[in-house]
């Protein structure tokens, strides 16, 4: 057991820091709290990052977690995402004001949940980790207690989340009843048996499980909560939403469907491909009609979930690598884009599409950063977003799913249209809204600048990340 605990050093560091931060909020006076909370949270994230990089232990912990290079990659992504989000929130008084400890503590707790998800290979820990990662998000979504949009988004997110968790648990109970164990391995023996066993119950269980995870993965038709929750939540939290999806939920699915339940043999390939097509297409088509920057990026986030899902549908090592690259890319460019939106909202007091008009004339640096994020989001080389799309599409072609790639490419074209609508407004229109505040503070600049730099560097020199990802994905069978 001590051995197992040793494998979980990064998670334990973050959980400890989260407990300390939550305690800090009640015990220390309000004045100097803000700086300390942010510094402590960032320090614990740095410690976890160092732990992951310096001591990449591998093994099985508690018989439920597989600590390997594959999970390490996603844990790095989630720690990175949490760090960037905390930097974005630094000057936001509604988050880092009176309840800074609560805010930072909840972000860390959610990160711990995501990290556990990245290693989970047992339904019990899958359920608990998923709760640990979403419960803080429910609270963070409603953190602006006086803002009706924040309340509405949080309530919708909470109700849908609770319902989807119920569906998932129901499915897990079927799988448990059929296999007799909550470990993924028990399912593998059900699906690998050469005897044509009756698998109806397992299939129904998998459907429920898929419905539950689909909510968290923001797959169509389980996506209805996304626009309201994304729009209502404080912008740094909006940026944080996608981290648990891209570095947690999709990883569990890769593990379950890659290593234990082959989707081809379960006859789920067509269904998964259909989900991916629906998610990409509906996300993109709805994004075309949005007039709020946050809603537009929310629908584009749904579309990206669909593209990410192609890597899972392909069900080959290349697809796995594609999901890894895409998850890293989306974390950087998603958080980056929302960082600029947060800055614009601060300057103009609005997050409508109108607010970004003429940004290049007033704050050229911000506009250039946004341009980089939008180019990467639309999958244009030489940015990392292109590499992610390239990987998942290549994987789909290798798996003989050419038609899926065709639809994916078509969707990319649609997305280019609405991303470039933003670019057009930034560079070729004049501002019609008076600036209220000074431009963004140092921490937001650092976060957005570092994300943009990473997108460019990894995009121009892809071999480094390609070899890393290739090696890490071999940890799975």
């Amino acid at each position: 057991m001590i051995e197992s605990a040793r494998l979980l050093k990064p998670e334990i560091i973050l959980a400890g820091a989260a407990l300390a931060l939550l305690a800090l909020d009640v015990s220390v006076g309000r004045g100097s709290l803000k700086r300390w909370a942010l510094a402590a949270a960032l320090a614990s994230l740095a410690a976890a990052l160092a732990c992951l990089l310096r001591f990449p232990d591998s093994g099985r912990a508690f018989g439920m977690l597989s600590i390997d290079e594959f999970s390490h990659f996603f844990k790095l992504v989630s720690v990175l995402g949490a760090g960037l989000v905390l930097l974005l929130a630094e000057d936001d008084d509604s988050l880092m004001g009176g309840s800074a400890g609560t805010f930072a503590g909840l972000v860390l707790l959610s990160t711990v949940g995501t990290m556990l998800l990245a290693s989970a290979e047992d339904f019990l820990i899958l359920f608990v980790a998923l709760e640990l990662t979403t419960i803080p998000l429910f609270i963070l979504a409603g953190f602006l207690r006086r803002d009706l949009r924040s309340n509405e988004g949080a309530i919708k997110f909470f109700l849908m989340g609770a319902f989807s968790t119920g569906l998932m648990l129901y499915g897990i109970s079927f799988l448990y009843g059929s296999a007799g164990s909550t470990h993924f391995q028990a399912l593998a023996s059900v699906w690998s048996a050469d005897v044509p066993a009756n698998r109806t119950l397992d299939l129904v269980g998998l459907f429920f499980l898929l419905a539950g995870l689909g909510f968290k993965l923001t797959l169509v038709p389980f996506h209805q909560w996304v626009p309201d929750a994304y729009e209502g939540a404080p912008t740094p939290i909006t940026a944080f939403f996608a981290v648990s999806r891209d570095a947690g939920v999709i990883v569990v699915m890769l593990r379950l469907f890659g290593e234990f339940v082959p989707i081809g043999r379960a006859g789920l390939t067509d269904l998964f491909a259909l989900l991916s097509v629906l998610t990409m297409t509906i996300g993109n088509l709805t994004a075309l009609r949005q007039e709020s920057l946050k809603r537009l990026l929310a629908y584009s986030s749904i579309a990206h979930a669909g593209t990410l899902f192609i890597g899972l549908v392909a069900a080959n090592p290349l697809g796995r690598e594609g999901v890894m690259v895409y998850a890293l890319a989306y974390t950087l460019m998603g958080i980056g884009a929302f960082a600029v939106v947060a800055a614009v909202a601060r300057i103009k007091g609005s997050d409508s599409l109108e607010a970004i008009e003429g940004l290049a004339g007033e704050h050229f640096g911000l506009a250039m950063l946004m341009l980089i994020f939008l180019l990467s989001l639309s999958g244009i080389p030489p940015f990392l977003g292109f590499l992610g799309k390239f990987y998942v599409f290549a994987a789909a072609i290798e798996a003989g799913l050419g038609w899926l790639v065709a639809i994916g490419l078509l969707n990319s074209v649609i997305s280019v249209y609405y991303y470039f609508r933003i670019v057009h407004k930034m560079f070729f229109r004049d501002s019609r809204i008076l600036s209220l505040a000074s431009p963004a503070n140092w921490s937001l600049r650092i976060a957005a600048g570092a994300s943009a730099a990473a997108l460019l560097i990894f995009g121009v020199f892809p071999h480094r990340i390609a070899s890393w990802v290739g090696q890490a994905s071999r940890a799975l069978q």
């Binding site: 979980l8 608990v128 640990l132 429910f138 207690r145 006086r146």
Partner: protein
């Protein structure tokens, strides 16, 4: 299927009868929780559901779970719900319609799911669990602190987050908008 009710003392007809009776009552009470228009009465039906589920647990040889169910759900959570109902002024429950425009698609989806589930259960064969009428408390305790230590700790973190959220949202706000302490 009737013969395979895993009762603690074998597979007698009486046990099967009692098991199905409790299950049927629990289902009926659960339906009433949803259809009842007065929140207070719905809460009372919920108490019946939870108590009957505790009975089912006892039947399956999960004595600790049955006791915990009664203590926590029937005794604790339900009392809280009743308090909340009595303290809040829920008056318009009677006039509001309990269905909305989506009832037809919802009914179709529910029926389809129900058919799928029933069909799946009918087609499957379940290995009868070997249930001994032995106290499970000690074994559960050992599990929680050995094999299940990790989920146990993780769930405590999740519950802590939920608790922090409850405190955060129920705290009184200072006039300047920042969350302050409840006095």
């Amino acid at each position: 299927m009737e013969a395979r009710v895993p009762g603690p003392r074998g597979e007698g007809v009486m046990e099967a009868f009692a098991f199905y009776l409790m299950a049927a009552l629990a289902t009926a009470a659960a339906v009433l929780v949803v259809t009842e228009r007065q929140v207070f009465n719905a809460a009372l039906y919920l108490a019946a559901v939870l108590a009957l589920v505790a009975g089912l647990f006892g039947f399956l040889g999960a004595d600790f779970l049955a006791a915990a169910q009664v203590l926590l759900y029937v005794g604790g959570i339900l009392v809280l719900i009743v308090f909340a109902v009595m303290l809040s002024s829920v008056r318009d429950g009677r006039v509001r319609s309990q269905i909305n425009a989506q009832w037809l698609p919802a009914l179709a989806v529910s029926l389809a799911v129900a058919v799928a589930v029933v069909e799946a259960v009918r087609r499957s064969s379940f290995a009868a669990a070997d249930v001994q009428a032995a106290p499970t408390t000690g074994a559960l305790g050992m599990l929680l602190f050995n094999e299940m230590a990790l989920p146990f700790e993780a769930v405590s973190l999740a519950l802590l987050a939920a608790l922090v959220g409850a405190v955060f949202f129920s705290r009184k706000e200072r006039p300047d908008g920042a969350a302050g302490d409840a006095k």
